[in-house]
């Protein structure tokens, strides 16, 4: 398979391309940052359930039935969806463009 040989040559060029390092460090930092946000949000929510149920039971205002827990829970769900959207937007735009250049320059 000459394809493999060609890939090896390309891999060598990619390794030495500063853009590759840039792509990996940028995307990795971005991915772990977003992961940390999700983890903090979710385990924060779990911690409230475990340790401070009273806060979640507080009504949003006088005479209102909705409690603090509802916007928080639904908020975690919506934030998860929005964060995936943000990641895909940047990864499929900025990062993929950088990736395309790296592959292009490796040929």
């Amino acid at each position: 398979m000459s394809n493999t040989a060609q890939n090896l040559a390309s891999a060598e060029k990619i390794r030495n391309n500063p853009k590759f390092r840039e792509l990996v460090s940028k995307r990795t930092r971005f991915a772990w940052t977003l992961s940390a946000i999700v983890l903090v949000m979710y385990f924060g929510f779990i911690a409230l359930i475990a340790f401070n149920k009273a806060l979640l039971a507080t009504p949003l205002g006088a005479g209102i039935n909705t409690t603090v827990g509802f916007p928080l829970g639904v908020g975690v769900i919506l934030s998860a969806v929005i964060l995936t959207g943000i990641y895909v937007y940047r990864a499929n735009g900025e990062f993929d463009e950088l990736n395309r250049q790296i592959i292009e320059e490796s040929r």
């Binding site: 792509l23 929510f45 779990i46 359930i49 969806v81 964060l83 959207g85 990736n99």
Partner: protein, 562 residues
């Protein structure tokens, strides 16, 4: 405490209540007349037959297009991100989450949201850390990725075992749930229900492979999302699209009143709260049938898109189930026609998992009830088909082709083995469904997610991110995670006390993941750093080449063909 555990178990899997229902129907002779009435649910049967006819037609079409191994395992890599997003949602949204979460909300209000949130937050993690690397490194199974630079035989054997354990446990849960549900909805004998589910999934997978499975999942997702939307819309319509009015009425009629607006007794112990959270979040990222879906798209770009669509659909669905649960409190609990007169209280005719089904009747009458019943059946079929295909690929692609034949086999033979494996898994699933009919299988979902989080997830994530990982570390650490999670579930109350009949559980918590997942990571790390073999040195050195492929997609399967 006992009630708490039962509520928790029932909520998790929906099976606890379903099983209780079965027993109640037998015990209470007065109920038999009503049960017989449910037997002639012709709307449901006709609509289900339409679904079966349609999906068999698709299977026929898919079978003609399924020629190569890539077609069989990965639909030729020709599924778009949007289609795959729907299929992932169809693979993931089980009848247990539809009926189980709405039943939990119906019974205790806010607690249902805890599960919805937990089952959703795994998805961003899959996207940020796993999806694109998985797509770039693998071909058909997650074992491809775990064994990319490690010893093929040991790592594939471990990964395939982890996959099969998850698949078989998950199948038991789905089959028992399916049998009970269909008995209830269609008035069919349990054993026939289980056989029909088993036979249909074998036909889809054996003949249509991933193409048919994908389309069954897409259609099911469309049906379930639109059905749930109509129910939720019907509920909100009656309350002037105001959550305040909906909540006010629910607080008024529910026997727990104000307590339904905040977390109750569901998660009382902080250790279990966190442990359940870990299992739900990271277990999702270790489910073989979910991971396999990422190989059906052409590249990393579409893989990312599919997670975004899937997360959107699943999040939307969980919010709907929440509205449905509250709707059931307001519209079902207040109507004696839906209540179990013998058991009294909030208990529903047919068990509390019927909350969403009765609500469908309250909103749209017999026809809509039939539709939702058929959708629930279709939901189970889609999930078991995905599981069967994932199990069959672990057997044929990982164990047969790589481990036993050392790669010296043809694609055609591998696919043939895969088809036989699907048939075998179908037979096993039916037999296990029959064996476990009378067992309390509520612990199964906890076990499945805990094993996935403790065995598959740590090895997968470390193989992608940590250059120091060696074969020895992966196999020993992963096996420790697998064994620890299974043993701790067996020693916990759900099995040790409720199935084996001992007085006290040896493991005091309900979920093992808080212990078993860190144990897997720790021992994987420990046995990797202690590994001074020449092979380990080669494996560490191979990480850089792997990371070039995983980050850029250079040389990724399928990408070159386009």
């Amino acid at each position: 405490m006992r009630t708490t555990m039962t509520a928790l178990a029932g909520a998790l899997a929906a099976f606890g209540t379903l099983l209780a229902t079965g027993t109640t129907a037998l015990a209470a002779g007065a109920d038999l007349g009503q049960a017989a009435q449910q037997a002639t649910n012709w709307h449901a049967i006709v609509m289900f037959l339409i679904f079966v006819a349609g999906t068999l037609g698709i299977t026929y079409w898919a079978a003609k297009r399924t020629k190569t191994a890539a077609d069989f395992y990965a639909a030729g890599g020709g599924i778009t991100g949007f289609q795959n997003g729907l299929a992932i949602a169809g693979d993931y949204m089980s009848a247990a989450s539809f009926l189980g979460i709405s039943a939990l909300v119906y019974g205790s209000g806010y607690d249902g949201l805890i599960f919805s949130v937990g089952w959703l937050v795994g998805w961003p993690i899959i996207l940020f850390l796993i999806a694109e690397r998985l797509r770039n490194l693998g071909k058909y199974t997650f074992a491809d990725v775990a064994s990319y630079r490690l010893g093929r035989t040991p790592v594939r054997t471990f990964a395939a075992t982890g996959a099969l354990v998850v698949v078989i446990f998950y199948l038991i849960g789905q089959m028992v749930g399916a049998g009970q549900l269909i008995k209830l909805l269609f008035g069919m004998e349990y054993i026939y229900a289980v056989i029909i589910v088993g036979a249909l999934m074998m036909i889809y997978v054996t003949f249509g492979g991933m193409v048919a499975t994908t389309w069954v999942q897409i259609i099911k997702a469309g049906l379930l999302l639109s059905g749930a939307t109509v129910i939720a819309f019907g509920v909100m319509y009656q309350f002037g699209f105001s959550f305040e009015q909906l909540f006010a009425r629910a607080i008024e009629v529910h026997p727990k009143h104000q307590a339904i607006m905040s977390p109750g007794t569901l998660v009382s112990n902080p250790i279990d709260a966190v442990s359940l959270g870990i299992a739900l979040m990271f277990g999702t990222a270790g489910l073989p049938h979910i991971l396999m879906r990422f190989f059906t798209v052409p590249d990393a770009r579409e893989a990312r898109k599919s997670v975004f669509y899937a997360t959107g659909f699943i999040g939307y669905f969980y919010i709907l189930t929440f509205i449905i649960g509250f709707g059931a409190i307001c519209l079902v609990a207040t109507n004696p026609a839906y209540l179990d007169a013998v058991k009294g209280g909030l208990n529903l005719r047919g068990g509390n998992n019927m909350a969403a089904i009765h609500l469908a009747h309250a909103i749209g009458g017999d026809l809509f009830l039939g539709f939702i019943s058929a959708v629930a059946f279709a939901t189970i079929l889609a999930v078991v088909s995905g599981l069967t295909l994932a199990g069959a690929s672990a057997i044929s692609h990982d164990l047969y082709a790589s481990v036993f034949m050392h790669g010296k086999t043809t694609e055609g033979k591998e696919v043939t083995v895969s088809r036989y494996a699907s048939l075998g898994l179908g037979v096993i699933a039916v037999l296990l469904g029959i064996v476990f009919e009378k067992q309390n299988v509520a612990f199964i979902v906890a076990l499945t997610f805990s094993v996935a989080a403790s065995a598959n997830f740590p090895v997968l994530v470390m193989s992608m991110f940590w250059s120091g990982l060696t074969t020895r570390g992966a196999v020993i650490g992963g096996t420790i995670g697998l064994v620890t999670s299974v043993v701790l579930v067996v020693l916990s109350k759900a099995v040790w006390v409720q199935s084996f009949g001992y007085a006290e559980p040896i493991f005091p918590y309900a979920y093992p993941a808080i212990f078993s997942m860190p144990a897997a990571f720790f021992f994987t790390w420990l046995f990797s750093v202690l590994d001074n073999s020449p092979r380990a040195a080669k494996e560490r050195a191979a990480f850089e080449a792997q990371s070039i492929r995983s980050e850029t997609g250079l040389g990724a399967e399928g990408a070159a063909a386009h």
